[in-house]
Symmetry: C2
Subunit: 167 residues, 2 copies
DNA sequence: CTCCATGCAAATTATTTGCATAGAC
DNA sequence: GTCTATGCAAATAATTTGCATGGAG
């Protein structure tokens, strides 16, 4: 299991190297450091947290470089950017990591991942129909999780009680 | 057709009125003005453009009010916020306007709307499975439109030619 | 040795906030 | 008359940019 992760890292470094060469971009240590940090984890992280993670631990990479590199990584397809809200973008490894989508609780902001094959059918169909060469997608379902749904019901009941008491 | 639009406007004003009353919020002219501007159009618009639209035309509504009202409208469900990228959020009427999703060209930023019933199946299924009460969704497909796909191919051909010439 | 990528801090953009006042209720 | 929503400008947050320098090619 651990070995598999090592293997992925090797492949990914190779892919990023090729990508940078093709673009005539330099292969700097900072860039590979950021790539690695993203591939070490199995969840999303935002730019600022990534910056802190790198700098508090050991190295010294500027915010500008973090943003610049994230852009490159997204362009290379090795990293996904998820824009959950206006001030809430997160990044996550994409290679060797099953394609998945997200359900977001609008109340507690909890994010749960899921996967449904029907999305692939939509992509294929719509790409054909509208003549787009579709490379990726983002699907977000919004609603209330079981907990927040329960709290809401209780709070409504509470309100009703208050009104009754008030009258 | 035009009459239908008038009819929608009446219904929507009524719904927004009820919403504001329920929240104990005031029914100000600015709020209804913004609601109307959004319902007059059949496409998306961003906060700044909406602000300009209102102020250049006739009235005088501050940015703060525009943002505040957009928030309320989204909360009421009468307006949808689409977050296409990190600096690219747009708003659009939601009531009496068929639910639809978007294909975005990553090159020229063109947005095409589409509708696929399979998305409803995913929502129902995943809501059940993960115990979420799903109220809405956002599906974005990203790729190259036919035009940009063509340009890309030509540009690649061009590059090859250059390299050959250079050697 | 050349020139791009980096670090840093200042700049920018979109959005939010604080405060005084107008106006909805 | 009361108190909230507004306008305005200043504040904030996330991201980008300009410039001098280090280091990849």
């Amino acid at each position: 299991m651990h070995k598999q992760k090592q293997q992925v890292m090797v492949e990914v470094r190779k892919l990023f190297t090729d990508f940078l060469e093709n673009k005539g971009q330099r292969k700097t240590g900072e860039r590979f450091m950021i790539l690695e940090k993203l591939y070490e984890r199995n969840d999303h992280i935002d730019a600022e947290a990534l910056y802190n993670l790198i700098n508090k631990q050991q190295h010294n990479v500027s915010r500008a470089t973090v943003y610049n590199t994230l852009e490159l990584l997204v362009e290379s397809g090795l990293v996904m950017r998820h824009q959950f809200g206006q001030h809430y973008a997160e990044y996550e490894k994409a290679y060797g990591y099953r394609q998945h989508d997200h359900i977001i609780c609008t109340e507690c902001k909890k994010v749960v991942e899921f996967c449904d094959p029907r999305i692939q059918q939509i992509k294929t169909k719509m790409g054909e129909l509208l003549e787009f060469n579709i490379t990726r997608h983002e699907l977000h379902l919004y609603g209330l999780c079981a907990d927040c749904e329960k709290s809401k019901k209780e709070s409504v009941a509470e309100n009703v009680k208050e009104k009754v008491t008030a009258v």
